[in-house]
């Protein structure tokens, strides 16, 4: 599956191993390796921060900070513990979530150019299922009730707070919290530690 890997700068497929190798060079302060990592991952990370922040100007700023952090922390990346892309995605999501929590939410209607993601359950699960871990997660997500599954996927992707989910789903905030906590407990029970 060609979609499974990220396309590198010269059109070569960038495998997780290839990316891990590049990250080791980045840790040695290799600028050309850093440029290749950027080429291979920036569209993914930009998609992640843009989806949460919904504003290109803020997402541009945040993405710069994310890559500066990746450069600074490359030596701490451990390929035994996480794939390079999930390590980078965690940095990107954390930074975007910090940012979105500091300002008032921006309405999606204000920025229609940002595409909805994962609104279609089947598409979302199929996307997740590309790796071994993803298949397990998708199996466990399928055991949740459809609306709760959608809420988990949606919350992760959009970084919506309980308040925002409450408005979207027309439920009291406490109900949303209960649903989220139960869904998480169910997922953990299914996935294991």
């Amino acid at each position: 599956m060609i979609r499974r890997a990220n396309l590198g700068v010269d059109g070569n497929l960038m495998t997780p191993d290839g990316l891990s190798h590049l990250m080791r060079r980045v840790a040695q302060r290799d600028r050309s390796a850093f440029a290749k990592v950027y080429q291979a991952t920036s569209a993914k990370l930009y998609g992640i921060v843009l989806r949460i922040l919904r504003r290109r100007d803020i997402a541009d700023e945040v993405l710069q900070e994310v890559y500066v952090k990746i450069w600074e922390r490359a030596a701490h990346f451990d390929s035994e513990r996480a794939s390079p892309i999930s390590w980078m995605a965690t940095i990107a999501r954390n930074r975007a979530l910090d940012e979105v929590r500091r300002k008032q939410p921006v309405s999606i209607e204000d920025h229609p150019e940002v595409q909805d993601c994962a609104s279609d359950d089947e598409t979302a699960l199929a996307a997740v299922m590309r790796s071994e871990d993803g298949r397990r997660l998708a199996e466990c997500l399928k055991r949740l009730e459809p609306d709760r599954r959608q809420m988990v996927v949606f919350a992760y992707c959009e970084g919506l707070s309980r308040d925002e989910l409450a408005k979207k789903y027309g439920q009291p905030v406490n109900t949303i919290k209960t649903w989220l906590r139960r869904s998480l407990a169910q997922l953990k029970g299914c996935l294991g530690p």
């Binding site: 569209a43 710069q64 600074e72 030596a75 999501r93 979105v100 996307a127 996927v153 992760y156 959009e158």
Partner: protein, 238 residues
């Protein structure tokens, strides 16, 4: 076990991104000194990581990589003795820009939570502390809006220490042991509501101290490494 479930639920929601501004900041600060919470967060990051596949890739503006390289170049300080000398002029421009953004963010934060929790304030007083080793080597700037207890920490010339984190502490006689204000970032300005728990006169008379801790912060909740920078608040006249 209820406690464990609560920690796990909170960690899961932190990773999902569903906590509100106060809870999110509180969990972020707590994970620095609560290893169980930190481990639960790491586990949830791993469990949910495949969901990043649901986000569609979007190509960023073509000019962005050059900006990133410029930032990396300007962050490459050259150490001289114990102090760190950097191109201050360039950094000052950067702070002015960040200060503008930070005050805009502060304003929106006040709108978002301040109005409900504190009510409108007739006037706001800002205090600033320069945290330094000596007069020639400022490392961090701490700005405190004393009315809202919102603290902004801006790096000046703090040099990254591989495998170590800078942690900020509030030190004042009435507090007993130093109180952690969380791990601070040597690369970017950050804003924290972590002073909310302290009285005005305590904050105004306290020393802000930065210690060098293992990565992620002190494992014990008290400073374990050397204090590398310190300073006290002075009014900015704003």
């Amino acid at each position: 076990m209820t406690d464990e479930n609560e920690i796990d639920g909170l960690a899961g929601e932190y990773v999902l991104g569903t906590l509100d501004v106060g809870e999110h900041a509180s969990v972020k600060a707590r994970r620095q000194r609560e290893p169980a919470l930190d481990a639960a967060i790491t586990d949830w990051e791993r469990r949910l990581a495949p969901l990043i596949e649901t986000t569609l890739p979007t190509v960023p503006p073509i000019t962005l990589f050059a900006k990133i390289e410029a930032r990396i170049n300007s962050a490459n300080f050259s150490p001289v003795g114990n102090a760190t000398i950097i191109d201050l002029g360039r950094r000052v421009k950067f702070w002015r820009a960040t200060a503008l953004i930070a005050s805009a963010l502060a304003a929106s934060l006040v709108v978002a939570i301040g109005v409900h929790e504190f009510g409108p304030k007739p006037k706001q007083q800002n205090l600033v502390a320069v945290l330094q080793k000596d007069a020639t080597s400022p490392a961090f700037l701490v700005t405190v809006n004393i009315d809202d207890r919102v603290m902004t920490v801006r790096p000046v010339a703090a040099k990254p220490q591989p495998g170590k984190s800078y942690e900020l502490w509030l030190v004042q006689d009435s507090l007993g042991a130093p109180k952690s204000l969380g791990v601070i970032d040597e690369h970017q300005a950050m804003q924290r509501p972590t002073l909310a728990a302290y009285k005005r006169d305590v904050i105004e008379s306290a020393t802000f101290a930065v210690s060098l801790e293992p990565e992620g912060g002190s494992p014990t909740g008290e400073p374990t490494g050397p204090v590398v920078f310190a300073g006290k608040l002075i009014p900015t006249g704003n």
